[in-house]
């Protein structure tokens, strides 16, 4: 019998505290313990990126991290990025530019793209392809995902300029 771990997380601004077995993967903590079902389980082998979340400011695949490793961390999932009444510019852009078909990869795509645009607010197509390499989409062929991210970047940069 292994010792349960006392784990504290802050997920989308809300403090969470619970006891979990060390083997509990973060994606299961989010989906099954906290009912945050935006991050998806695609491959569960760290290839597809459907489970991508932001942990302490960095993109991470939550299927390849234990909740115990995230103890004390601040986590943002797609739920913390926007909502139907207040879409993030990336969500609007994905919708307008047909950046999704089935939508399964989209939460991970957009969560990753928020960090990509923070790291590089004006990415070229090549930089988007490189920066999004860990997120796989089997519907779109990626062209419209790139268009969506470029459109969101333009929108976000314009909004930033207008604010200055």
């Amino acid at each position: 019998m292994s010792k349960k771990m006392h784990i504290k997380l802050n997920v989308n601004g809300k403090d969470e505290e619970f006891l979990a077995e060390p083997r509990e993967l973060l994606i299961y903590t989010l989906r099954e313990r906290l009912n945050i079902t935006g991050p998806h389980i695609g491959c569960e082998t760290s290839h597809c990126g459907a489970c991508t979340v932001t942990i302490d400011g960095k993109s991470v695949k939550s299927c390849t991290m234990f909740a115990a490793q995230a103890d004390g961390a601040e986590i943002t999932t797609i739920e913390g990025i926007g909502n139907p009444d207040d879409l993030h510019p990336l969500q609007t852009a994905f919708k307008e530019h047909h950046g999704l078909q089935c939508g399964y990869c989209t939460p991970g795509m957009i969560t990753r793209a928020t960090k990509l645009l923070e790291e590089n607010p004006t990415p070229t197509e090549e930089e988007i392809r490189f920066g999004m390499a860990g997120n796989i989409c089997r519907c779109t062929g990626y062209q419209n995902i790139i268009k969506s991210i470029q459109a969101a970047a333009a929108e976000m940069n314009a909004a930033k300029e207008a604010a200055e």
């Binding site: 292994s2 083997r23 991290m65 234990f66 860990g134």
Partner: protein, 261 residues
């Protein structure tokens, strides 16, 4: 996966103590070990996470001008902070994908010694020194075959020291699904000669290509490699490429690395 206990030591000494337990296993970023645990290919009684050990984090310059990287430093940090050795930073910047680079560590990669991983080529190609809690190991003595290293049970990599070459480059022919190297070649030119280390190809893991090193030490240009080739007989053969194909890639990628260095 099977369950285990989880320890989060904050010092190397505490980590070593925790690793004395039977079937205890060190955990870096978990980008290889967690998938291995999921497949039940490993069943440690205790995982000892090395991520919380401050003295094993970060990049700094050694007194001898070498770039020193803490064993628990992730690839993204090396990519961002090892600018004093640009080829090494560039190698780190192309491991896996962004999320993997935010978790995976140099110590974890070198301790695992995957035959297709990038860091073993960088370490062997640079003649790096692997520093553990107990000793210093030259890269030439450290890599001992596929998934096999000089590390003893319970020994951990606390730091890796890279002497900075005059010129260097790593060329990776990516296996697009896994983003591991189908073949990767690390070339580094030092005052006392050129080192060429190849990953992804041999059944014995990362290795140095002595003939190419001799030719490049005499004349550091891609044309110096004309006519040189490796045998594919003892190379990895799988659905991604035959041994013969990998042997061909070794020569091609070595030339590209020299041209780009």
């Amino acid at each position: 996966m099977y369950n285990f206990d989880f320890e989060k030591p904050e010092s190397v000494a505490d980590a070593i103590a925790a690793l004395q337990g039977e079937e205890a296993q060190a955990l870096g970023g978990g980008q290889t070990l967690i998938p291995t645990l999921k497949q039940r290919l490993a069943s440690p009684s205790t995982l000892v996470s090395l991520k919380g050990i401050a003295e094993m984090q970060g990049v700094c310059m050694g007194d001898d001008g070498s770039v020193c990287i803490g064993g628990a430093t992730n690839h993204a940090t090396v990519a961002a902070e090892a600018g004093a050795y640009p080829a090494l930073a560039d190698t780190a910047a192309h491991i896996g994908d962004p999320a993997v680079r935010n978790r995976g560590t140099i110590g974890g990669s070198l301790a695992n010694n995957d035959p297709s991983a990038c860091y073993p080529a960088a370490a062997l190609g640079s003649g790096a020194t692997i520093v553990t809690n107990a000793r210093q190991i030259a890269a030439d003595d450290y890599f001992q075959g596929m998934f096999t290293t000089a590390l003893d049970e319970g020994e951990i990599i606390t730091e890796v020291r890279f002497p900075v070459p005059e010129k260097a480059n790593y060329q990776k022919f990516v296996q697009p699904a896994s983003r591991f190297a189908l073949v990767g070649v690390y070339v580094a030119k030092y005052a006392d000669g050129v080192r060429v280390a190849i990953t992804g190809a041999s059944n014995d893991g990362v290795f140095r290509w002595a003939e190419a090193e001799a030719a490049l030490s005499a004349n550091f240009s891609a044309s110096a490699l004309d006519g040189l080739s490796l045998s594919g007989d003892d190379m990895i053969s799988d659905l991604h490429g035959t041994g013969e194909y990998r042997a061909h890639l070794c020569a091609v990628m070595t030339k590209r690395a020299v041209a780009a260095a």
